[in-house]
């Protein structure tokens, strides 16, 4: 089950500043919805613990994240994979940065792929829930860069 999302916003920060924020796991990871903690393996790999609650499936998931594209200050992309009771989740999230006046236009896009019984048990809930959480992430990002 694939959930696709995307959008754009403008922020009064330079592309370099935005890029620097996005590619710093210590800054970026806490913005993830239901963030509970993280461990960083190296500059591009980190594991985030997030709380999961969909239907009766509740628990914590360890999401292994990797910064797979780093093109300063134009583009950053993360890929992640994690498992929870009832399924696995694979996510891709990319950010394209373009100068816009004295700020930056951030075009973001991504896809979450859900595997396992999670997809069937909570299938109808996942898309709205996913979109809600992505919106939280983007709102958090905008707030942090404001």
């Amino acid at each position: 089950m694939a959930i696709k999302f995307g959008g754009e916003f403008e922020i009064k920060r330079t592309p370099e500043e935005v890029y620097g924020f996005l590619t710093d796991p210590q800054k970026f990871a806490p913005l993830l919805p239901e963030f509970q903690g993280m461990t960083q393996q190296d500059a591009t790999h980190f594991t985030v613990k997030v709380k999961v609650g969909v239907s009766y499936i509740k628990g914590a998931a360890d999401m292994k994240m990797e910064l797979t594209q780093a093109d300063p200050p134009k583009r950053a992309q993360y890929k992640g994979q994690g498992s929870v009771s009832g399924g696995n989740v694979a996510i891709t999230a990319g950010f394209d940065l373009l100068p816009a006046g004295d700020g930056t236009k951030v075009a973001w896009q991504g896809e979450a792929q859900v595997f396992g019984s999670l997809a069937s048990v909570a299938g109808g809930l996942l898309e709205p829930l996913g979109k809600k959480n992505v919106q939280k992430l983007i709102d958090g990002l905008r707030a942090a860069l404001a």
């Binding site: 694939a2 792929q113 595997f115 396992g116 019984s117």
Partner: protein, 816 residues
């Protein structure tokens, strides 16, 4: 005493089921009722991915949990066992099928590891502690796409194509050349569904170190097949495996393929030093991972017809989706041909049949296995041609049905239909539903804009397989014919005890076997104890014993009848000696001291206890020629089959052909697109009826199943192989609340191929699928809709009505 002159035939009588008292009072013994000392509980850890490499399996956290006895992984199992036998020929004979995934997973829900613990809850908790890392691969969930071999499921086979064969008979080219009409149908699709037995799979396995034997108590419905797979897989002599079944809460075929779970329970017991291990399947496990019915796509169908709408030839490509592992397949690639022409007379046909693996749950025999897909296809062909050419659906059938006077009827592929009268069934069904009245109501309703359709579905239930047909898919298979064993004895105190090798799941074997023996011995069926349920130790089973494929009424009861006749002959011999008379002077009946045999000339009699005592406890007076009398008679009934011609794919594949004809009136609500059944009739012909209420009950049950399959049950997978219908919220079983008031009728055309005239009384479960498809098409044809799929609900009908794409599926060439 009551004598043979007073004899009433118990066969054919509405005798209450002997099982009912036990089962309805909750006194049945089901596998999950069994609790053994030191029993452990097993939980499978299943793959969330449809297709992925297994990178690592870390069992340490689970093994460290208190109360966890052991954890099994695929890598470990592969070291200890042989891959399961493959039924198909190369290249699929090369694949390695183990009960736990070894290096990759091939469907969502595939078992990857098994956790064994002191309690079910502990096993559940421990299962969540396993850390399994996967590397996702491209899944393939569509059989036609699978045939492109872009993503291989079994690399060792080198292809996803399990089997291909062309079934061609008659002069197809000539028939098309001479046709008045040619109808082309691009695509039809028979959907994937399973069954929802009240009781899921249950296995208790014990590999006892004291005698190095494996003991199973389970609800597998074809144990003699399972033990052949298990013995080879576990490298043990088949005689070292004991399987017992007791009451079974439904199977519908899909419990045939529980042998992988049986293997794991035995291996887990071995690892747990011989403690018994129980596995009870959850409902979601059952829906996602036990077995599904075969999904089939029919491509490029061409139909030749004469000017009267009589079909003269059919060609088509059939693509069958068997899921991730062939298991019982590719038997389905030939089993459909038991009903090659359906109930129709056409002689020329070419069917190119292919089977593919996909990243979905493996299939298993399910509700009219493999034949219902083909019969649905033929009924679709009939209705599409009728609508497109302007023939009435009933008239179209009457012009094409095999006629009563043509029986026994040899089909183009050499099957012999024993008996039947399809026009009469149609007449009975039309009478019961009030055909002419409904036609008038339909005309009036259409003027009001209502979408009402009337559909007919005719189907066959072929029973008692010739296992020689397996050689059509693989000439090296050592199976042919069919047999069933039974034992009938007088116990030491004269009790008549019958043992059969079947595994009844509600079919009333206890009752019908007693009725047969009661007729032979002229006693009341209540005086007969029938031991149903399979037990290898009873020594009554053959290699085909089990309950499947609509055969007990013929094979099982023929074996019971044979054993009872043998017992009767021995009893006569002994009684003649004891009473000092000739055997033809003897009469069987019931006297003051129970069942007895009386000498008509003298009035002297001996009761069953006396007879049994002579053999078992008071034998000193017997003459040596009577020493061979044991009053313990095993009989193996064998079906009179020959091995089919494997090159021509020709021969008698099944012994009896029961038939069902259903008629439904269905309305599609204009606002909601919900299809509602307004009226329903089911007419059945299973030859001589042994017990009318049992047959009627099976017809109602099968009709419910078929209506559920047509309108409610659908195994839906997304593009990456997630099964989206894994609970009863989404995979919706039919209940009494969804059932129309079914009007039941029957006719009897006795089979010349069985001793009693009975035919296999099976599901007939396909008939509602055909019938509802036909009724929906009748309702929507004026809206340019062709019903191309066997599953239709409000959502699919809404989409069909909005897109109207199905109207382009069919083209008609008129040459007159």
């Amino acid at each position: 005493m009551s004598s043979e002159a007073d004899k009433k035939n118990w066969v054919g009588k509405s005798f209450p089921r002997k099982e009912e008292n036990r089962l309805l009072r909750g006194r049945g013994k089901f596998a999950d009722d069994i609790k053994l000392r030191e029993m452990l509980y097993l939980r499978f850890v299943r793959s969330p991915y449809a297709h992925a490499k297994i990178v690592s399996v870390d069992t340490s956290a689970a093994e460290a949990l208190s109360g966890v006895v052991c954890v099994l992984t695929g890598a470990e199992i592969a070291q200890q066992t042989q891959p399961f036998i493959e039924i198909g020929p190369d290249p699929f004979a090369k694949i390695k099928d183990y009960p736990l995934a070894v290096s990759k997973v091939r469907y969502q829900g595939e078992p990857v590891a098994a956790v064994v613990a002191e309690s079910p809850a502990l096993a559940d908790d421990a299962a969540e502690l396993l850390q399994i890392e996967y590397d996702a691969l491209d899944p393939v969930v569509d059989a036609e796409e699978a045939l492109e071999d872009k993503s291989l499921l079994h690399e060792e086979a080198g292809t996803n194509r399990v089997w291909n064969g062309v079934f061609e008979y008659g002069d197809v080219e000539r028939a098309f050349k001479e046709a008045a009409y040619v109808v082309d149908i691009d695509r039809l699709h028979f959907h994937r569904f399973s069954s929802t037995p009240l009781e899921n799979n249950v296995v208790i396995g014990q590999w006892n170190p004291k005698d190095d034997r494996i003991y199973y108590q389970c609800n597998n419905s074809f144990p003699s097949f399972a033990i052949q797979f298990l013995a080879a897989h576990l490298s043990v002599h088949i005689d070292r495996i004991r399987v017992e079944t007791s009451d079974i809460g439904g199977s519908f075929g899909i419990k045939i393929t529980s042998y992988p779970q049986m293997a794991i329970c035995a291996l887990a017991s071995k690892k747990a030093e011989g403690r018994p291990v129980k596995w009870v399947e959850t409902r979601s496990e059952h829906i996602t991972s036990s077995a599904h019915g075969n999904e089939r796509t029919f491509r490029d169908t061409r139909v030749a017809l004469d000017k009267n709408g009589v079909i003269t030839a059919i060609t088509s490509r059939h693509i069958d989706d068997c899921g991730a592992y062939p298991r019982y397949e590719p038997l389905g690639c030939v089993i459909w041909s038991q009903v090659f022409p359906g109930v129709y007379r056409f002689k020329n046909a070419r069917i190119d049949f292919t089977q593919a693996v996909t990243n979905k749950c493996p299939v298993g025999p399910n509700r009219g296995y493999s034949r219902m897909q083909h019969l649905w296809f033929l009924e679709r062909v009939i209705d599409i041609c009728a609508h497109k050419l302007g023939f009435a659906a009933d008239e179209m059938r009457l012009r094409n049905y095999i006629l009563p006077e043509e029986f026994p009827y040899t089909t183009p592929n050499g099957c012999v239909y024993d008996s039947g009268n399809y026009p009469k069934m149609l007449q009975v069904a039309k009478g019961l539903i009030g055909w002419d009245e409904w036609k008038k109501k339909q005309t009036a309703a259409r003027k009001e804009g209502r979408l009402i359709g009337i559909g007919i579905g005719t189907t066959l239930d072929s029973g008692t397989n010739n296992f020689g047909q397996s050689q059509i898919v693989n000439p090296y298979l050592p199976y042919s014919g069919n047999s069933q064993g039974a034992n009938c004895k007088l116990d030491i105190y004269g009790e008549v005890v019958v043992a059969v090798g079947s595994c009844p799941q509600g079919q009333g074997h206890e009752t019908t076997a007693a009725q047969v023996v009661a007729d032979v011995l002229n006693i009341h069926p209540d005086l007969i104890t029938v031991r149903t349920g399979f037990d290898t130790e009873r020594n009554v089973h053959t290699g085909f014993s089990g309950t499947y494929a609509s055969q007990f009424a013929v094979s099982g009861l023929s074996a019971v009848h044979g054993a009872a006749q043998k017992l009767k002959a021995e009893m006569k011999r002994l009684a003649a000696f004891t009473l000092g008379t000739k055997e033809d002077d003897l009469e069987f009946g019931t006297g003051a001291q129970g069942p007895e045999i009386q000498a008509k000339s003298t009035g002297k009699s001996i009761n069953y206890w006396g007879l049994a005592n002579l053999v078992n406890a008071n034998s000193a007076g017997l003459t040596p020629e009577l020493y061979e009398v044991t009053l313990n008679c095993r009989y193996v009934w064998r079906a009179p089959f020959k091995v089919p011609d494997t090159k021509r794919k020709y021969g008698s594949l099944t012994l009896t052909y029961a038939s069902q004809l259903h008629v439904a009136v269905v309305e599609v609500e204009r606002d909601t697109f919900i299809p509602r059944i307004l009226d329903y009739v089911a007419v059945d012909d299973c030859g001589t009826v042994i017990n009318p209420p049992i047959v009627e009950g099976q017809v109602y049950g099968a009709t419910a199943h078929g209506i559920g399959a047509a309108l409610m049950e659908n195994c839906v997978y997304d593009a990456v192989g997630n099964m989206l219908t894994s609970t009863f919220s989404d995979y919706i079983p039919i209940t009494a609340m969804n059932m129309p008031n079914v009007k039941y009728g029957h006719i009897e055309t006795p089979s010349p191929h069985s001793y009693s005239g009975a035919k296999g009384m099976g599901e007939g479960g396909a008939a509602p699928i055909h019938t509802i498809s036909a009724a929906l098409q009748d309702a929507l044809f004026a809206s340019d809709i062709i019903i191309e799929d066997s599953f239709n609900n409000a959502d699919s009908l809404f989409r069909a009505l909005k897109s109207k794409e199905t109207g382009t599926l069919v083209r008609v060439e008129k040459r007159i």
